[in-house]
């Protein structure tokens, strides 16, 4: 009997293979390898950018050249040759498609295979608007008309630079300054695409916005830049997904994401990061160096980060909140899962500046195989943050005896009225829990998956529904073969 597609998919799922490891065969337009001022001029010209943007990039490049690679994270990284990377790669046919009909069918197929429908007809109206970023360019953005009706701008950032220069100029680099760190400076010099979101005053964005990042070309780096602005009383929920082909070489992904929330505004940012993690021997995989930061500038504003990190060979990522507004709220919910030889150093920073600002950090780290998983976080209470409040909980779960789980929280309190509580635990899946499940007829692997999902529940429930299902499956897959 011939196996049905369903059977094949299920089989793929249970064997725990990386499902998104295929390569799309598409002709592409690439910048020569290497990083210098000419490459930056090339990228800027490709994007048809105004002079101020090019100047900004060149200045960032000069800054980056003077900086040193950070080495404080608990990561063991082979030195990266920044001259051996293509800083720009784009599918040839994709330059400025007016509508979805003009997008290369190969690309549409790719996204369909990834489970990201770009055809608006096929989606239940008003569910999710998608910006699809393929290597260095955005290939399609759906539901733009629908969003424009309520005044929401959702477009590739390269377009925003041309069409809304005042907005971009005002906010870009205002949350993550160019010189913030090595990778933010690099990104500022060579960023290619990403999403721009602007929610005007009083608007509740009618649908979830989403960007799907795909690295396809070999020897490229992806440098995305996302900027989300929520004006007074605005609300937006934004999702981000990422995958890459399976290759033996490491590929670099260095993104910068900036969020700005004004009075009473709320931004919810969810990520399911599933870059190719490398094989069981640690060969290949994405190096993921990401600077994500939100500024709660307005009073009673709220920024909430939720992340499920299962991919990447190396993760270096600390989504943070600067709580400037009075009674502003910052949240960080994270599940980081590492298997095989993956290394993750991830966490958050909560900087309390405003009176009555509150933050919650829930971090769940799961290490399996020979992986290293580290939570690194900072809670800083500035003298003016009267009655600020922080609660942090970091739990680690070890699956197998060859992996490591680490917790490095920093707590700095400079205001006596602030209350900070931090707790962390490390344990393993107990024999009792496993036995309980197994005697009810649940297999070992399913039991582990069940227990792990229970361990992550607090974070999972923060994810938008579509993602929650996906994320639970992902965790099940990533842990395959880690027990017994």
């Amino acid at each position: 009997m011939v196996a049905t597609q369903e059977t094949i998919d299920t089989l793929e799922e249970v064997t725990g293979k990386y499902k998104y490891g295929f390569v799309t065969d598409i002709e592409s337009d690439k910048a020569p390898k290497g990083l210098n001022e000419d490459i930056i001029r090339f990228i800027s010209a490709k994007k048809d950018e105004p002079q101020w943007m090019l100047d900004w990039r060149l200045k960032a490049f000069a800054t980056w050249q003077k900086m040193e690679t950070p080495d404080w994270a608990k990561l063991d990284i082979e030195p990266i040759d920044y001259q051996d990377i293509h800083y720009y790669a784009a599918p040839k046919s994709s330059e400025g498609p007016e509508s979805l009909d003009e997008v290369d069918p190969e690309l549409l197929k790719t996204y369909a295979k990834l489970g990201i429908p770009l055809d608006e007809q096929k989606i239940l109206a008003g569910v999710v608007a998608v910006d699809a970023v393929f290597d260095s360019v955005s290939v399609a953005t759906t539901f733009r008309g629908e969003l424009a009706k309520v005044g929401v701008i959702f477009c590739p950032i390269s377009e925003a630079i041309r069409d809304y220069p005042d907005l971009v100029k005002k906010y870009i680099g205002s949350v993550v300054p160019v010189a913030d760190n090595y990778f933010s400076a690099l990104n500022s010099a060579v960023f290619t695409d990403g999403s721009f979101v602007y929610i005007p005053k009083g608007v509740r964005c009618p649908m979830e916005l989403s960007t799907y990042f795909r690295i396809n070309e070999a020897n490229t780096g992806q440098f995305e830049r996302t900027l989300i602005i929520a004006e007074d009383e605005a609300y937006v929920s934004y999702l981000e997904g990422c995958t890459a082909p399976q290759r033996d070489e490491n590929q670099l992904h260095a993104a910068v994401v900036e969020l700005v929330a004004m009075d009473d505004a709320e931004i919810k940012y969810s990520t399911v990061q599933n870059w190719y993690p490398g094989d069981e021997n640690g060969l290949g995989g994405i190096y993921n160096f990401v600077t994500k930061r939100g500024a709660c500038r307005g009073d009673r504003s709220k920024i909430s980060w939720t992340q499920v990190e299962t991919g990447s060979a190396i993760t270096w990522k600390y989504p943070s909140c600067i709580l400037q507004g009075k009674d502003s709220v910052g949240e960080f919910y994270s599940v980081a899962l590492t298997n095989n030889l993956q290394q993750a150093d991830t966490g958050t920073k909560m900087i309390h500046i405003g009176e009555g600002s509150r933050s919650t950090i829930i971090s769940k780290g799961i290490s399996a195989g020979r992986s290293q998983n580290c939570y690194r976080g900072l809670v800083r209470i500035q003298p003016g943050a009267e009655n600020a409040r922080n609660f942090t909980q970091c739990d680690s779960l070890l699956v197998g005896d060859k992996c490591g789980a680490h917790t490095v929280p920093y707590i700095v309190s400079r205001n006596p009225s602030a209350k900070i509580e931090h707790e962390a635990t490390t344990s393993r899946i107990s024999e009792d829990q496993l036995f309980y499940c197994q005697q009810r007829g649940i297999s070992t692997e399913d039991s582990v998956s069940l227990i792990v999902n229970g361990f992550c529940k607090e974070v999972m429930k923060e994810l938008p529904m579509e993602f929650a299902v996906e994320a639970q499956k992902l965790i099940g897959i990533s842990l395959e073969g880690s027990v017994g």
Partner: protein, 416 residues
């Protein structure tokens, strides 16, 4: 790398060999850690670099100053003045304790160097310029508490007492360090080895003068089935760091290492611990309490490291800081580094002020606000002190916190 003006007198050190020469070379290469060294992130030594200090080579001329401690009555006291041991005191050592000098014994020095924090400025500097290197071997059950009393009177010098203590298998002893110096810098280096099934009750009080800097480095190695119960109080000095590295090197060892720091004016207290579970089935427990008034700053850095084979480890740590003034600052960095899967490790940290509800409860019962504050602070500290099981040491430590409390300005003037 800027090297401090506080350079050891090189002439005096000419001809050093072995362990001490190695330590001197390392010190000369690195000097005091600069501000970007992660382990010294919260405690900057810039003020120290500017000080013009000479390592002391002789005891204070005025003789051994009296210390104001409630020492256990039957204690054997060894006095160090400016870091120099009063050799006559060795006569008081109880039966079962053997003293020798480290200076001429490179093997003993090498053992000491292996136990104290490695590549550490205090370890290297004090090893190089040490004046009295004392080694104590303890066998059998020794009930008489051994007190190391450190005094000094010259704020132009630095003192570098180096002491190693070895408890033989099955031995038991009570050891305390009392620091009440007025030297520019005290940099005591201690190495303690507790043998298999041995027990050590230990206390340290850092009560140096308000102008002094106190940088201590202690290495502690615990053998199989041994018990160590230690408590530290940091109350004196302008800048103080009490750094302890513990290695649980045998199974079933049990280590308690708790601490209190009390800061006011512009004091800076730093409690740094590194608890390394090298073998399985060990227990470690740390309770840290800090009270900070005026512009004082308190730092707690505690790392629990569990080696790949150290299964069934139980590592617990809880640090709490109380801020009494608007200008005080508390920093904490509790760290877990775990490579074994069948372990139970937890740490907690809190920072806050006195609970207004509790204050209200007490004042509503007719207790004036200042007294109520005092009661709550003392209850906060008792939480830690009550865990000391050796009555003599508890009786020595309790008055230190009480004295601090009574001289404290409980009124809330500084709050506004």
């Amino acid at each position: 790398m800027s090297v401090s003006t506080m350079q050891p007198n090189l002439d005096q050190l000419a001809g050093l060999t072995g362990v001490r020469a190695g330590a001197l070379t390392r010190w000369q290469e690195t000097g005091w850690p600069h501000s970007r060294v992660e382990q010294w992130r919260f405690t900057r030594l810039a003020s120290l670099e500017k000080m013009d200090l000479r390592p002391a080579s002789a005891a204070a001329v005025t003789g051994t100053a009296a210390i104001s401690a409630d020492l256990p009555k039957n204690a054997a006291i060894l006095s160090f003045s400016n870091g120099v041991l009063d050799v006559a005191d060795l006569a008081v050592l109880p039966v079962g304790v053997k003293a020798s000098f480290l200076n001429e014994n490179d093997t003993a020095l090498a053992a000491l160097a292996a136990s104290v924090p490695a590549s550490h400025p205090v370890s290297d500097l004090s090893l190089a310029v040490m004046t009295s290197g004392l080694h104590l071997e303890i066998a059998g059950k020794v009930d008489v508490p051994i007190i190391l009393a450190f005094t000094g009177d010259d704020n132009g010098v630095s003192s570098h007492p180096v002491v190693s203590v070895k408890l033989a298998d099955g031995a038991s002893a009570v050891l305390a360090e009392w620091h009440q110096s007025a030297v520019g810098l005290s940099a005591p280096l201690m190495a303690i080895e507790v043998g298999d099934k041995a027990r050590l009750d230990y206390a340290k009080v850092q009560h140096d003068s308000a102008q002094s800097a106190h940088l201590a480095a202690t290495g502690l190695t615990l053998g199989e089935g041994s018990v160590f119960e230690g408590f530290q109080i940091s109350v004196g000095g302008q800048l103080a760091r009490l750094e302890t590295h513990v290695t649980l090197s045998g199974e079933n060892a049990d280590c308690t290492l708790s601490a209190i720091y009390l800061g006011r004016a512009n004091q800076h207290h730093d409690i740094t611990t590194n608890m390394s579970h090298a073998k399985g089935h060990c227990l470690s427990n740390q309770i840290i309490r800090g009270v900070l008034d005026d512009s004082a700053r308190g730092v707690f850095q505690g790392k629990v490291h569990v080696a790949p084979d150290a299964q069934k480890t139980d590592g617990q740590q809880m640090s709490r800081a109380l801020l009494l003034s608007r200008k005080a600052e508390a920093d904490a960095k509790p760290e877990l580094e775990i490579y074994a899967d069948d372990v139970l490790c937890a740490h907690g940290a809190t920072v806050g002020e006195l609970d207004e509800t509790q204050l209200f409860y007490l004042t509503s019962r007719g207790i004036d606000r200042d007294t109520a504050r005092g009661m709550l602070i003392s209850a906060f500290l008792d939480d830690a002190i009550d865990s000391i099981s050796h009555l003599g040491l508890a009786a020595m430590l309790r008055p230190v916190t009480t004295a601090w409390m009574t001289t404290s300005n409980h009124s809330e003037a500084g709050d506004q």
